[in-house]
């Protein structure tokens, strides 16, 4: 099988230097590790190259994708008051979720990879699949109803200005996925904040407003499901009374923890069957991915741990202050809400934009946790702080590294001098 594939690849190899060859090379190195050897000097080459590393991150995200997809459907039907138990109407929820997620996924990749492929050809280097990770992350941090053109503009901005301008994969200063989200966040704020956008396929979240189905739901899948005798999408269904669509964070902002638990149970928040961005809701599945990344040595446990520490310290301080109901939310409940774990596991640990020294990682993570909690609780303009806190610290990561290195150098020079003096 492997041999066949290799033979096939060898047979279709296009002329070197053409755009087709760049494309070919990208797919070839995706399937096989290239057998380049280093000339001159002694180097150890590992099979675990950039592409394999990227794929591990994508693998770690798969569970979030599964639950995220299903959860879109689940939230949609909960709002309509149908199939409210988690596993009821399984096929409907899954199909509904897929219809939402797949176009987002495809548009992200077509736009992002398109730009990436073009530049790889233009600059004459191999395709660096740096975008695979960003492309896997971007759909997970978008609201399910995001208009596709908006997504395309955001991805193009992030890849172009955030990455290619800096020289491509591994050179960017700000996290590409977060840059795409922050672009939507500041350019089209009504599509990515508020209580309306986290549940998909409703005209609005007011009671009595209609569900919004397209041709695909009604004319493609409904006849199919009917043929099998399963339940179908009901175009006449409306939003139930008393439904808000608010996320736990916005509830907490209005009335503290009690206000949250009136609407959601802690186990719902833990497992992530709540409205939110597509992939950020389920804590255990994210932690599973995080553990996977730590074991494979791709993500830094120092950043994760210190970020947790920073967030705990800040929420304890806020507890002590206690000027608003949100500040009084006990620190351990803060972690049930919002996207802390997703940001911690997949965003802050991005090895390109984080600090690269060990001491720097501790500082970097701690400050993200600290500032993120400040933004979440104290800033009425933004519902959640991690995206902005991470971008903020991305800006300072090189500076942290610079001073960590300087102080190391100073220490070493001093030690060397002391030794020289002792020998003399």
């Amino acid at each position: 099988m492997k041999k066949r594939l290799l033979q096939f690849f060898n047979k279709i190899e296009p002329k070197k230097g053409s755009f087709a060859h760049t494309l070919y090379d990208g797919f070839f190195t995706f399937a096989f590790t290239p057998n380049h050897t280093t000339k001159g000097g002694v180097h150890i080459r590992d099979g675990m190259d950039l592409k394999r590393t990227m794929v591990y991150v994508v693998l770690a995200l798969q569970l979030c994708y599964l639950l995220g997809t299903y959860n879109i459907g689940h939230q949609h039907f909960v709002a309509l008051g149908q199939h409210t138990a988690l596993l009821d109407g399984f096929h409907l929820k899954l199909i509904y979720g897929l219809i939402q997620v797949l176009p987002i996924f495809v548009v992200t990749h077509v736009v992002g990879l398109g730009i990436e492929f073009y530049y790889a050809y233009k600059k004459g280097h191999g395709i660096e699949e740096g975008f695979l990770v960003s492309g896997a992350l971007i759909p997970l941090i978008m609201p399910p109803d995001i208009p596709l053109w908006m997504l395309a503009v955001a991805v193009a901005f992030a890849v172009w200005i955030g990455k290619e301008a800096f020289g491509g994969t591994g050179m960017n200063i700000l996290n590409v996925a977060l840059l795409a989200r922050v672009f939507v966040f500041f350019a089209y704020p009504t599509y990515i904040s508020g209580d309306e956008v986290w549940v998909s396929g409703l005209e609005s979240t007011l009671a009595g407003s209609a569900a919004d189905y397209g041709w695909i739901h009604l004319n493609l899948f409904n006849p199919l499901f009917e043929g099998w005798g399963w339940s179908t999408f009901n175009a006449a269904s409306t939003v139930v009374d008393g439904y808000t669509g608010a996320t736990p964070l916005s509830l907490a902002f209005q009335g503290g923890w009690e206000n949250v638990t009136n609407t959601y149970t802690t186990s719902q928040m833990l497992w992530g069957t709540i409205p939110g961005s597509i992939g950020e809701t389920s804590k255990p599945l994210i932690l599973f991915g995080a553990v996977f990344l730590i074991i494979t040595g791709i993500a830094s446990w120092r950043i994760m741990f210190s970020m947790l520490l920073g967030a705990v310290v800040m929420s304890l301080l806020l507890n002590a202050w206690g000027a608003t109901p949100f500040m009084e939310v006990p620190w351990y409940y803060q972690f049930y809400m919002g996207s802390f774990f997703f940001a911690m596991a997949f965003m802050a640990t991005d090895p390109v934009t984080a600090s690269s020294t060990n001491l720097g990682k501790w500082l970097y993570g701690f400050l993200i946790g600290f500032i993120g909690m400040i933004i979440r609780v104290l800033n009425p303009a933004y519902p959640e702080g991690w995206m902005l806190a991470i971008l903020f610290m991305n800006v300072f990561a090189p500076l942290i590294d610079h001073y960590v290195l300087e102080s190391n150098m100073k220490k070493r020079v001093k030690r060397a001098k002391a030794r020289a003096a002792a020998q003399a």
Binding site: M171, A381, Y382, F396, P398, H402
Partner: protein, 202 residues
């Protein structure tokens, strides 16, 4: 004390002179090639802002306003007097730097005297007038604004040191990249926009 602290935080992070108002861009872009010189210039700006702001406040209050010693509205002299104060303070800084750190003096070159026309400095003084700060608030605003400027310039200097090894497209090398970076940093600094330290009544 609380008020002092609020204005400091606000000026340093939330309404950063460089990244929110884009003031003082010329020396910010020109001297941010290495962290070392950026650090020196940043300190100089903190000092000049922190000193000129209260002096300008005194001038505004006791010489230029109608309630001052001359008893007439002399605010049309504001610009020229503010600039004169700033210029003399910069002269002072220049002499100090030349005396104590000739290396830094040479590295900063023309940009040290050019702090005089750094818009962040005059802009700070004019903000102080239009926002009607009192004396202690103007001190806080001067120090906070200077600190924000300092942070911004050393952050971009560290980034520019880092991207020296990146494969930046030739057309963007140097200033082009610095502008893009400043914009992206501005986005990152927007994270704190909207926090009103006074709203929590400490």
């Amino acid at each position: 004390m609380g008020e002092f602290f609020n204005i400091f935080i606000k000026a340093a992070f939330i309404e950063n002179l460089v990244l929110a108002y884009f003031l003082g861009m010329c020396s910010y872009l020109a001297v941010s090639k290495t962290v070392k010189t950026a650090f020196g210039l940043g300190l100089a700006v903190i000092f000049v802002l922190g000193i000129t702001m209260p002096i300008n406040w005194l001038i505004q209050e006791y010489l230029l306003s109608e309630t001052g010693v001359f008893g007439t509205d002399l605010t049309f002299l504001r610009f020229i007097l503010f600039i004169a104060v700033i210029a003399s303070m910069v002269q002072l800084v220049e002499m100090v730097v030349e005396k104590f750190s000739p290396a830094l003096y040479n590295a900063l070159g023309i940009f040290l005297p050019l702090i005089t026309v750094n818009c962040a400095i005059l802009g700070g003084s004019l903000f102080m007038v239009s926002r009607e700060y009192n004396f202690s608030e103007s001190v806080a605003f001067g120090l906070g604004g200077g600190f924000g400027w300092f942070l911004a310039i050393i952050a971009i200097a560290a980034i520019r040191e880092k991207i020296r090894y990146s494969n930046v497209p030739p057309a963007l090398r140097g200033l082009g990249m610095a502008f893009i970076l400043t914009g992206l940093m501005g986005i990152a600094f927007m994270s704190l926009l909207g926090i009103d330290p006074a709203a929590f009544g400490n």
